[in-house]
């Protein structure tokens, strides 16, 4: 891992991986969509509306997976002082916010025909909304503090504090009496879904995961370039300032 702490090494690896990951993601999305719309049957209770689950559930998983990645990066920043950890953390926040937004909106679009309401303040929905707000808070924090090292430290602390929300989201359906249904895939005793519905869901989940990895690599690469641009701009400004100070008209020696 430390080999890729060097930004130039990371950029080389990212540039080599991104096209392959993008192609694999596109292939898996195509297979997943085929499975979701043509291979999987309608649900005996939900009817055709079950097809929303093939994007809602992977988006929910990725919303949490992305935050877990950020929490690991936060540890990398605070404990191991890994040079790329804060760049990876900053790059992940907008992607996680987007997946959480998709999860909330598709859940709402499923809830209206199934529950008869767009929204209820139940523990699962509310904890996911809190996750979305934490993402927005982290993005705002990064934008507010100009000095990257200070912003990284503050964001890392907030990320680790916010990580307490992850088990709350996961176990909210067990700890409280919620309208949201309990876990049906990742649970003790195996998945409660018929294989004909399970495989498209897992393919879509894999596609979303690969999409996240691809976008995260791209965004981290952007972050490295942004820092390089900042450093070069400051250096150029210093050099220009020195030249101005050296000319007699500017009062230099």
């Amino acid at each position: 891992m430390w080999k890729y702490a060097n930004p130039a090494n990371f950029l080389r690896l990212a540039n080599a991986l991104i096209p392959w990951l993008a192609a694999l993601t596109a292939l898996l999305v195509a297979i997943g969509l085929y499975g979701a719309f043509f291979a999987a049957p309608a649900d005996y209770q939900q009817g055709q509306t079950v097809r929303i689950m093939y994007i809602h559930v992977p988006a929910a998983w990725l919303a949490m997976f992305c935050y877990a990645t950020m929490a690991l990066s936060a540890l990398g920043t605070l404990v191991w002082h890994h040079p790329l950890a804060d760049a990876a953390q900053k790059a992940a926040a907008p992607i996680g916010a987007v997946f959480t937004f998709i999860c909330l909106v598709t859940g709402s679009l499923w809830g209206k025909p199934m529950w008869g309401t767009w929204w209820v303040w139940d523990a699962r929905l509310t904890s996911v909304l809190v996750l979305f707000l934490i993402y927005l808070g982290l993005i705002a924090l990064w934008r507010t503090i100009e000095e990257p090292a200070k912003a990284a430290k503050a964001a890392a602390i907030l990320t680790l504090v916010g990580a307490v929300n992850l088990p709350i989201i996961k176990f909210s359906v067990d700890w409280w009496n919620t309208l949201h249904q309990p876990a049906s895939v990742v649970r003790m005793g195996g998945p409660a879904i018929h294989p004909s519905m399970l495989w498209p869901l897992l393919v879509m989940a894999l596609a979303f995961t690969l999409l996240f990895i691809t976008l995260h690599l791209m965004a981290t690469r952007n972050e490295i370039l942004r820092r390089r641009l900042r450093r070069l701009t400051i250096l150029a400004a210093h050099e220009q300032g020195s030249r101005v100070a050296l000319t007699p008209a500017a009062g230099g020696a």
Binding site: P7, A8, L11, R12, A14, N15, G47, Q48, T49, R51, I52, I55, H56, A59, P94, I95, V98, F101, I102, V105, T106, L109, W110, K112, P113, L211, L215, M218, A219, R221, N222, I224, L225, R226, R228, L229, L232, A236
Partner: protein, 50 residues
């Protein structure tokens, strides 16, 4: 056409649009950064690799 079809289509359309927007924003950001970096001379450690 199922009576819930608009909800299904809205879900997929919104997901597609939001993800396309995110991908577009990341690619645009990359191109903008690369263009800004061309103002500075290339160095040995891979400034121009990305």
């Amino acid at each position: 056409m199922d009576r819930h079809t608009p909800f299904i289509l809205a879900s997929y359309a919104l997901t597609f649009l939001v993800l396309a927007g995110l991908i577009g924003a990341i690619i645009y950001d990359h191109l903008r950064l690369k263009k800004s970096l061309t103002r500075f001379p290339a160095r040995e450690d891979g400034d121009r690799e990305a």
